[in-house]
């Protein structure tokens, strides 16, 4: 059951992600990205990361992607303004480097590595990945980064307004 779900979600993630990169019109890309995030949320659930899965749907698929779609609509680019995909030498080299890197990492990852036991199933950590468990860690050992993040978001809000608004 877990395997079937994983493969369904995984294929969905890859196909939707490829759509994001390959689609010429960004609005299709944005919708594909939403789909990709939904599939990813499913993967997260398989990893027992329930809280993160919910956040993924709410924050990414909900808030951030709405922002993207909104901006795409706002710009309202014409067909001829969309432009072609230019593959230059440097870009090709960069891509090849990324491919080599990922391939190498994957090869390394596929070689037998002594992983620890499955934390969610074998160790029976109660509520692994749930709101209570994550919240315990977040508010106890990561209070300062959490607060800093709130400051970061505030700065982002203000700066987004300042930058996007032509004159204040």
């Amino acid at each position: 059951m877990e395997a079937v779900l994983f493969y369904i979600f995984a294929i969905g993630v890859v196909v939707a992600g490829a759509q994001v990169v390959l689609r010429r019109n960004p609005i299709y890309g944005a919708v594909s990205l939403v789909a990709c995030f939904f599939f990813l949320a499913g993967i997260y659930v398989l990893l027992s990361a329930h809280l993160i899965a919910i956040l993924q749907v709410m924050v990414y698929a909900g808030a951030v992607m709405v922002l993207f779609v909104f901006v795409i609509m706002l710009l309202n680019l014409k067909e001829e303004e969309l432009g072609e995909m230019h593959v230059t030498t440097m870009k090709g080299i960069g891509l090849a480097a990324v491919l080599v890197l990922v391939g190498f990492i994957a090869w390394k990852a596929l070689t037998p590595v002594q992983f620890a036991r499955d934390m969610a199933v074998n160790e029976q950590i109660h509520g692994f990945g749930g709101v209570k468990a994550v919240g315990n860690v977040l508010y106890r050992s990561s209070v300062l980064p959490f607060e800093v993040t709130s400051l970061l978001l505030l700065v982002a809000v203000v700066s987004a307004v300042v930058i996007a608004k032509g004159k204040i």
């Binding site: 944005a30 990709c36 956040l55 808030a63 593959v87 692994f128 050992s141 970061l152 930058i163």
Partner: protein, 111 residues
């Protein structure tokens, strides 16, 4: 094949990261570049969560140890939201002055 282990998640993360990187390097549309960045971030998130459930370390501490991966993903999501907001604002500002959002036309950052 039927047992889904950490390796499966890591390979999926790698593929997603590669897709995102390809989008960043190849696409000229700034919005798509930003979306590709989101893809890469999500690939990283996936890796975090995979290692959180299947840690490399034996006898990892219970509290504040294993679930640190989840906390990190939480921060990444928050930061990605901030980045998206600022990035899109910049795209709007640039579009307003250049009437274009093609990344390779913004090459004045060399003096």
């Amino acid at each position: 094949m039927m047992t889904i282990g950490p390796v499966h998640y890591l390979v999926l993360g790698a593929i997603l990261f590669t897709l995102g990187a390809a989008g960043v390097v190849l696409r000229r549309n700034a919005v798509v570049v930003l979306m590709s960045v989101e893809l890469m971030l999500n690939a990283v998130n996936l890796t975090f969560l995979a290692f959180s459930r299947f840690p490399l370390v034996q006898n990892a501490p219970m509290q504040g140890g294993i679930l640190q991966g989840h906390v990190a993903v939480f921060f990444v999501i928050a930061t990605a939201a901030a980045e998206a907001a600022v990035g899109l604002a910049i795209i709007i500002a640039v579009f307003r002055s250049r009437t274009s959002i093609n990344v390779d036309e913004f090459d004045s950052l060399k003096f």
